[in-house]
């Protein structure tokens, strides 16, 4: 049995597929592909696959991770990739299939890009700069134990921040994985709390998933 890891894109209209719906969608993709995928052996056998990280509804991604098993040891990664791609919905595409090397727990952070669109983008840009310069960026975060206030600043690494016409384009790294997960929406919340300037966050995209030493995870 081959233990495999697929990296796939979820872009365009596919960003409206929720995480729950993605599960169902992937099951049907496997069935359409007729690949010899390994089934669980319980009372209700189903193809085994699991996603490393959930992606918020409306986010695009270039780097979604799915682990699954193929019972045929001879089948090439390319064939598996192509057969999956042949039956994928619009906006979803397998970039690569390779043996699982690192453990899922090795995931430490994820890189995001997004645009903040505003009628007063200049002012918004200044507000962003001010927020980034503040000693702490506190925001309320929902956790399993309820709502708590966290300071996201120490764990947030801004890679890029530019004013482009009506948009402030940003790129940042945030903690991800089994321990701490920060969503860019936390930063948007903090920005809304810090300034009255109205904006819309668009084109939010997960670009890469990284390990502790910033190596690419997959």
């Amino acid at each position: 049995m081959q233990r495999l890891r697929a990296v796939f894109e979820k872009t365009g209209r596919a960003k409206y597929i929720s995480h729950l719906d993605l599960n169902r969608c992937m099951l049907r993709i496997f069935r359409r592909s007729k690949l010899p995928v390994w089934y669980t052996e319980g009372f209700n056998p189903h193809p085994y696959y699991s996603f490393a990280l959930a992606l918020s509804l409306g986010f695009e991604s270039s780097c979604e991770i799915m682990d699954f098993n193929i019972t045929d040891d001879e089948m090439s990664a390319e064939e598996i990739r192509d057969r999956l791609n042949a039956v994928m919905p619009e906006g979803m595409r397998i970039v690569s299939v390779a043996p699982q090397v690192k453990k899922i727990t090795a995931i430490a952070r994820a890189e995001f890009s997004f645009s903040l669109i505003s009628e007063s983008a200049d002012e918004l840009y200044r507000a962003v700069q001010e927020l980034l310069a503040a000693p702490e960026i506190c925001v309320e975060k929902k956790t399993k134990k309820g709502i708590k206030t966290v300071d996201i600043k120490p764990d947030m690494e801004v890679l890029d921040c530019q004013l482009n016409g009506a948009a402030v384009d940003m790129k940042m790294r945030l903690p991800a994985g089994t321990q701490t997960n920060y969503n860019p929406t936390l930063f948007f919340e903090a920005l809304k709390n810090a300034s009255d300037i109205r904006f819309d966050a668009r084109n939010i995209r997960r670009l890469r998933i990284l390990c502790e030493n910033n190596d690419i995870f997959y």
Binding site: A14, D21, R28, R31, R32, G58, V87
Partner: protein, 616 residues
């Protein structure tokens, strides 16, 4: 900003956005510059419901097989998205191209239930298409059409539609599109097209027919113009093994009501339950062969990736080759790890080996549509299920590990007395007693008998089409009587809102004078009437009052046998004389055997020109 960008700007503010953006596997995209006729197939309810509709799947694939025709899907937006659409000038659009449906050649609705009528008006309005047919352009475009079971009496909708398609659409839809395509090329106008379309069998153009009424409110006469036929005959498909069936379904991302492959196994019904419209309007009885059913199942499962399949019909047990069909299907589904969900089957005449196989797949609950509480009333409605059958099946089921049973009944049936209502509670009690008397019943589990009680709605093209519906006060009294008659906490009773059933009866049996009522109700905010949280009974009653229309005239009045019924000019191949005969037989509490046992002379064999149970 194009429409797609405009939609996407707001999409994340609404529930289940994947319903509004298309892109599903199996959806068909064409190059619109190479398309002659564009058809928007509209379901007047939300995506989750409409996407489950098998007729849409058939006609969608069928129309799209023709390279130069493009059929797209369109559903009613939920309340949250409708608000956004109206605030941001987003017109109703089709899911494949995301183009506004007002630019389409055909806007076709499927009318599956009466309580979706206001949604049609709302969708036309959202699309920017005039709600009344008379207000639409004189040019040949934007033809608003409807089909489906409710168009067997389309009169309450007559003012809103350009034409209705009666019966099965697989052939007539393409004939209609072909005519349109040819006439459009000749530069014909709307009226010219409608007059010509009325000559196609199965096409009813309401604007070519007019009615006047007696002083007592009943119809006096009908006038036909432009050489349109005096009676319009519904269309049927003769050979179910040759009829088109899709090789693929659009596979939704979000979970829908029937989220599985469904394969039609037969059309029509041999049972003749006297309240059941489907049992008459889909006649004659026709089956697909086990091979066809197997091939369609396999093909659809492979193409969609669904791991569940269900069989669609009015009564799958009545398939003449059920044993062979299920054996074939179960062998396939077990091998491919597909769940086969079987509807309630009569298991009495199955072979031992098939029963063993069925045991492995059946997981669903135990359900009986007993419909009435006493044998006398079951005879009146011709529901040929006996208490002995129910009891013997329950006994086997309890011994086999079942501990809950669902029972469906109707209240307000013709000739019903208090004894029949009390009979419902007594039947439930006897099933409960049987449970406790069954020695090898499941241990440590509490039994539950669920009694679900609908209100009888008289429907056109049934022997009970003449019958009045009980008044609301009477239904409420009977509901209370039933609750008082139930003595055990293990018996749970639920029933329908009689206010809803009243509107269903009015719209089912209504005539053209109801168009203005539907319009007035919609203007006052009525929509999604089939959703209890949206249903506004008081608003509907205000609309009736404003229009000077008495709902009781339609719902609670007995229609005379010699009266001109609003649907008398439509021919569903079953004789009115047969319905009258059956009605009189019902009042004598006498049953009519099913069609396989003895032909009851409904007239469909004569209309079709062949006997019901032979291949031609």
């Amino acid at each position: 900003m194009n429409l797609k960008e405009k939609i996407e700007k707001h999409l994340l503010k609404v529930q289940k956005p994947s319903r509004y953006i298309g892109g599903e596997v199996g959806s068909i995209i064409k190059d619109k510059s190479k398309v002659d006729v564009r058809f928007a197939f509209c379901f007047p309810d939300t995506y989750d419901i409409g996407m489950s509709h098998i007729g849409m799947k058939i006609l969608y694939s069928l129309t799209n097989q023709r390279e130069n025709y493009w059929c797209e899907r369109c559903f009613a937006p939920d309340i949250d998205f409708e608000k956004i659409m109206r605030e941001n000038d987003i017109p109703l659009y089709a899911l494949e191209s995301l183009d506004p449906i007002r630019d389409f050649d055909f806007i076709g609705f499927t009318m599956q239930y009466e309580l979706s009528y206001t949604n049609v008006l709302n969708m036309l309005d959202l699309a920017g298409i005039p709600v009344f047919a008379k207000d639409r352009t004189q040019e040949l475009t934007q033809i608003v059409v409807a089909g489906g079971p409710c168009v067997c009496n389309p009169e309450p909708l007559a003012d809103f539609f350009d034409l209705f398609i009666l019966g099965e659409g697989e052939e007539v839809n393409l004939e209609l599109l072909d005519l349109y395509n040819a006439m459009k090329k000749q530069g014909a106008g709307r009226r010219e097209f409608l007059v010509k379309a009325a000559q196609i069998e199965g096409i009813y153009v309401p604007s070519l027919y007019s009615f006047d009424y007696n002083e007592d409110g009943a119809i006096r006469s009908m006038t036909v113009t432009e050489n349109a036929p005096q009676t319009v005959k519904k269309r049927i498909i003769r050979d179910m093994d040759k009829v088109f069936y899709p090789e693929n379904f659009v596979v939704p991302f979000t979970e829908i009501v029937h989220d599985r492959v469904s394969v039609e196994v037969l059309r029509g019904c041999i049972r003749g339950c006297r309240f059941c419209q489907a049992g008459f309007i889909y006649r004659p009885f026709r089956e697909k062969s086990p091979d066809t059913i197997y091939n369609e199942t396999k093909c659809l499962c492979e193409n969609t990736g669904y791991d569940e399949v269900s069989l669609a019909s009015l009564s799958t047990s009545d398939h003449s080759e059920i044993d062979e069909m299920l054996t074939k299907l179960i062998d396939y589904t077990a091998e491919e790890r597909v769940n086969l969900s079987l509807p309630s089957l009569r298991v009495d005449n199955f072979s031992e080996s098939l029963l063993e196989k069925i045991k492995k797949v059946r997981k669903s609950g135990l359900t009986f549509a007993a419909e009435a509480g006493t044998q006398r009333l079951r005879d009146v409605i011709n529901k040929n299920v006996s208490e002995e059958e129910i009891m013997s099946t329950c006994k086997i089921a309890f011994a086999g590990g079942y501990s809950s049973v669902k029972l469906y009944f109707m209240m307000g049936l013709p000739t019903e007395t208090d004894e029949d209502i009390i009979g419902i509670a007594e039947l439930a009690q006897r099933i409960l007693d049987l449970y406790y008397a069954t020695e090898n019943r499941p241990k440590g589990r509490s039994p539950q008998i669920s009694v679900s009680c609908a209100t009888f709605v008289p429907k056109p093209f049934t022997p009970f089409q003449f019958e009045p519906q009980d008044t609301r006060a009477e239904i409420e009294r009977k509901q209370k009587l039933l609750l008082d008659s139930v003595k055990s906490k293990k018996i749970k009773v639920s029933y329908h809102d009689p206010n809803v059933s009243l509107l269903e009866a009015v719209l089912a049996k209504g005539d053209r004078r109801l168009c203005k009522v539907i319009y007035a109700a919609w203007q006052r905010g009525c929509k999604f009437d089939s959703w209890s949280e949206h249903y506004k009974f008081d608003t509907w009653m205000e609309a009736f009052e404003d229009c000077g229309v008495d709902p009781g005239f339609y719902a609670n009045r007995r229609f005379e046998f010699d009266e001109i019924l609003p649907w008398d000019h439509l021919d569903y191949l079953v004789d009115k004389k047969f319905f009258i005969r059956e009605n009189m037989t019902a009042h004598k509490s006498v049953t009519t055997p099913n069609c396989r046992q003895r032909c009851s002379g409904c007239g469909v064999n004569k209309a079709v020109g062949r006997e019901c149970f032979c291949k031609d």
